[in-house]
């Protein structure tokens, strides 16, 4: 009897273990099966490099959104990565123990705040601030970059901190013994050794920024045209899907799913880059 239960449960556990494989297969299958034919119908070049998105007149070019996503993500990296890495260095090498107990939950909380709340904060604080102090309508690449820069902080900090912590203490001690100051030891001996882990954190941050939809949609303006400047509105791949999906039909809807496929391909590439960097770190 017990033997039968043992065998049976092994099968049950095995089936459960297959769940994630089935899920990924289903997601890939459904995304590509629904998106790729649309790209075929529109034409690959027209779809990816077309500069006009006018569903009304059957024009489906997502180049403005691809560029928009890249701009906004680049902005987020410029703002979020330096602050994130420096904060990670602070937490790992400069932080008194008592302060760490306070700082760690703060970072966790920053990661836990829902993206709608971030988006709302951007809408009521960052957008008016940009409008009144810098110029334009406020719904802009700049606002979206600042908001995303804040949102990727916990991701960058988390990965970078564990990368820095993984560097053997002897590196630091060796530098100190050679007469370097604490700061110099950290920045010249410890941080370079954690390089690939830190890059992995940056890559993960890029993934978060490019995939974020609900926060960006509230601050970026969503105009489906080529971005014209830092203070002008922009539409990203993610917001294109959310904006139009509510009312789209036929080829328009398929084009939106194809937009999702393009985003999905970006994300898969980023994931691969992340695991390559991670495995480098492990060596």
């Amino acid at each position: 009897m017990n033997k039968i239960i043992d065998k049976l449960m092994k099968v049950v556990f095995f089936i459960a273990a297959c769940a994630s494989i089935v899920a990924v297969a289903l997601i890939c299958g459904f995304m590509f099966a629904n998106g790729v034919p649309a790209i075929g119908k529109i034409g690959f070049v027209k779809f990816i490099f077309g500069k006009v998105w006018k569903p009304g007149s059957e024009l489906f070019g997502i180049f403005p959104m691809i560029v928009g996503s890249l701009y906004v993500t680049a902005g987020a990296i410029i703002i979020g990565v330096p602050i994130g890495i420096l904060t990670a260095i602070f937490m790992s090498k400069f932080c008194p123990k008592g302060l760490y107990k306070f700082l760690k939950p703060v970072i966790d909380l920053l990661a836990g705040i829902p993206s709608v709340v971030y988006g709302f904060f951007g809408l009521v604080v960052i957008v008016p601030f940009v409008r009144e102090n810098i110029g334009g309508k406020g719904y802009s690449i700049l606002s979206a970059s600042v908001l995303l820069g804040i949102m990727i902080l916990p991701t960058v900090i988390g990965v970078c901190e564990s990368a820095i912590n993984a560097v053997p203490e002897s590196y630091y001690e060796g530098a100190l013994a050679l007469g370097a100051t604490h700061e110099r030891s950290v920045f010249k001996a410890v941080v370079p050794a954690a390089k690939s882990g830190i890059f992995a954190g940056v890559v993960l941050g890029i993934g978060r920024a490019i995939g974020e939809a609900m926060a960006v949609i509230m601050v970026c303006g969503n105009q489906a045209r080529m971005p014209k400047g830092l203070l002008k509105g922009v539409r990203t791949l993610t917001t294109n899907i959310v904006m139009d999906m509510g009312y789209a039909a036929d080829l328009h809807r398929e084009a939106l799913i194809a937009t999702g496929v393009v985003l999905f391909v970006f994300i898969l590439l980023i994931n691969i880059a992340f695991s390559v960097l991670k495995s480098k770190e492990a060596k």
Binding site: I21, G112, M218, G246, I257, L268
Partner: protein, 275 residues
Amino acid sequence: MKKYIRHPGSLIIRAIVYLAAAFTVIMLGFIIAHILIKGVPYLTPDLFALKYNSDNVSMMPSIINTLIMIVLVLVIAVPFGIFSAIYLVEYADKNNKFVNVIRLTTETLTGIPSIIYGLFGMLFFNYALHWGNSLIGGALTLAIMVLPVIMRTTEEALIAVPLSYREGSFALGAGKVRTIFKVVLPPAVPGILSGIILAIGRIVGETAALVYTAGTVPDLPKSIFSSGRTLAVHMYSLSREGMYTNQAYATAVILLLLVIIINRVSALIAKKLQK
């Protein structure tokens, strides 16, 4: 202090590092303070009325929907998450090809943005299965999304259980399944629990994956096959409509408080685990 006179560069570096950390903390403090100050005055009893209408954008139906959503997602994701972690830790060889595939797929699932989950859920549950906008469709979508979280935390908790527990149990003649459920799982419960709470945090905060799967109907659901918005979706709708900014602030307060509570509880359990 003397060494900084000789190395002014180091002092500057230290200042920059301190500034960056201060910025992170101040930013979070500012976001929370801003939302609390602007939102708490608008937390009127009306906002918790059972019925939603355009005069009174009550969040009560959305709160109830959120609770239903949490229960549905956990009922689906927790057994799968725990069982697959058990398979990975207790049964599979560490360098098995199959295990590597599972690792790769869970990592992929972690990296997929929620809007892609939303698109997939819409294509699969709403269209392919013809469920339309439904709570169960949203719940299944989110279940896939939180699966890696539960799997990873359970795995870590199981690995942390000393090998001697299992050997002791086997030596007393217990079978493998009995050992797992009676000896290995109980000490791993706090770790698993902190993972489940993390998952609840993600369910509460999720919008992009739900807008086109569970939908945005602001009423109480009749069954799990009817559409219903969760609190985060409710807040998104309010802030997009632009007419209910004050109520959106109030909703943000509730969302923030939920997230803070969830975070603290998870941290407390994790701390207990370390002792």
